[in-house]
């Protein structure tokens, strides 16, 4: 669970000053959402791990320049989700025809079915749905994170949800 805004600013400040304990607190607070978001976009656990890890390494590299007045989460999620979209696009160009993670069960539960169908959307649609419903960003915040017009975010959300609804019915 991410800490409060005040906790987070303190962690960033002390991490910038060299406190590994505070950097670890920042890492532990943000790993889960970052990894889950990457996984839902790429649908490959090992790739999601690499992508989330790369996001944190990018955070380490930029830590000294990071503006402490800004929240850390959106900045990290922007890196992670954009990289996940790039990765998913690259894989779509060269399909592997292999299941890296466990295959879906014969009789999927409702949640599994939803995740399965989510994985069939385009990476761009997946990303906005993950940002909206997993990480709970507003469409305006998603537009800012992905550097898209707000109308595009809204239309991707609507189309993504419509598509999921059709497939699940």
């Amino acid at each position: 669970m991410a800490g409060s805004g005040r906790d987070e600013r303190a962690w960033v400040r002390r991490a910038q000053a060299g406190s590994q304990t505070d950097f670890e607190a920042l890492f532990r607070a943000h790993w889960g959402p970052a990894y889950r978001a990457a996984y839902l976009v790429v649908r490959d656990a090992a790739a999601a791990e690499d992508i989330a890890q790369e996001g944190f390494i990018a955070a380490v590299r930029a830590l000294d320049r990071f503006d402490r007045r800004r929240p850390f989460g959106p900045w990290l999620h922007r890196i992670v989700v954009n990289r996940a979209i790039d990765w998913a696009r690259a894989r779509a160009l060269r399909p592997e025809g292999e299941a890296v993670d466990a295959p879906a069960p014969d009789r999927p539960e409702r949640d599994d079915e939803l995740l399965h169908e989510l994985g069939r959307l385009t990476p761009e649609h997946r990303a906005v749905i993950v940002l909206r419903y997993l990480l709970e960003y507003t469409p305006g915040e998603i537009a800012e994170l992905l550097e898209l017009p707000r109308g595009t975010v809204n239309s991707r959300l609507r189309r993504g949800l419509d598509s999921l609804k059709e497939r699940l019915e």
């Binding site: 590994q20 996984y39 490959d44 656990a45 790739a47 989330a52 590299r61 060269r94 592997e96």
Partner: protein, 307 residues
Amino acid sequence: MKFEAPGERAAEDRAWAVVRHAYAEREPVAWPRRHARPLVAGALVAAAVAAVLSPPGRSVVHSLRKAVGVQHAQTELSSLPAPGRLLVSGPGGTWIVNQDGSRRRLGSYRDAAWSPHGLFVAATKPSELVALDPKGNVRWTLPRRSPRFPAWTGTRADTRIAYLSGGKLHVVAGDGTGDRTIGPAAAVPPVWRPGRVIVYSDGHGLVAYDLLSGSFRHTTLRPAGPAIRRRAGLSEVVSHRRVVFRGTGTFGQVVRSPDGRWLLVTWPTADQWVFVRPGPPRHIVGGSRVSSQFGGFPRIEGWCCAG
């Protein structure tokens, strides 16, 4: 949406080991350091040019001529003196060199490895691990971030490829399925040992991971086979405690032929490959202008599979 991704906790611990290392090594970027890099690079280039043109640089060529002997010196490599095929990678891509000296460029890959019987090649690009046949046809790809150092082991029926990606050791089946993350790993090539054991560095020491039991243990590797020794501006190849070849400058690698009779010594400073049969009788064959044949001096990835 309540959701936990597969392996979330284990992934967190593995990633923290890598990220913590990056945090511990971070340094605030300062102006003098940023600008020192081109100066250092310039100084290194100048030193390299001076070395090539200086008497010690020229003596590399002289030393080679002396070591090889004019009667055995070749302008370019015409054939391999022993059965098998070489796999090499360098700035000009990854190549296979057949015993008759013919070459095939497989493509632009960073590093590569033979499959256990030489039927396939595992190779890496900046964003994927690739399996190829020896004609260069891609059999499968696995998108991964900066994969490095593939190492392939197994039998004809069941093989495994170990490789590094994102600061971790991975193992994937030879058909590209079932990719698994084993643990944090330093940027050192992993090595297979008999019995499905992979030895790698975790940054603190060597770790042996047993694929069958899933157990880890700390280990050491005893140097085996021929080795390169450097002393007083000379390089020497030592095999069975005997110096079998010596030259000025720096040798790159020494690789044993599949039949065990020949050693291939790479000599980047002389732009040569030298094949040495320790004998008796001792025999030496040189191949020159290696860089021009491969678009840059390549690294030997393997000499595989006689017969």
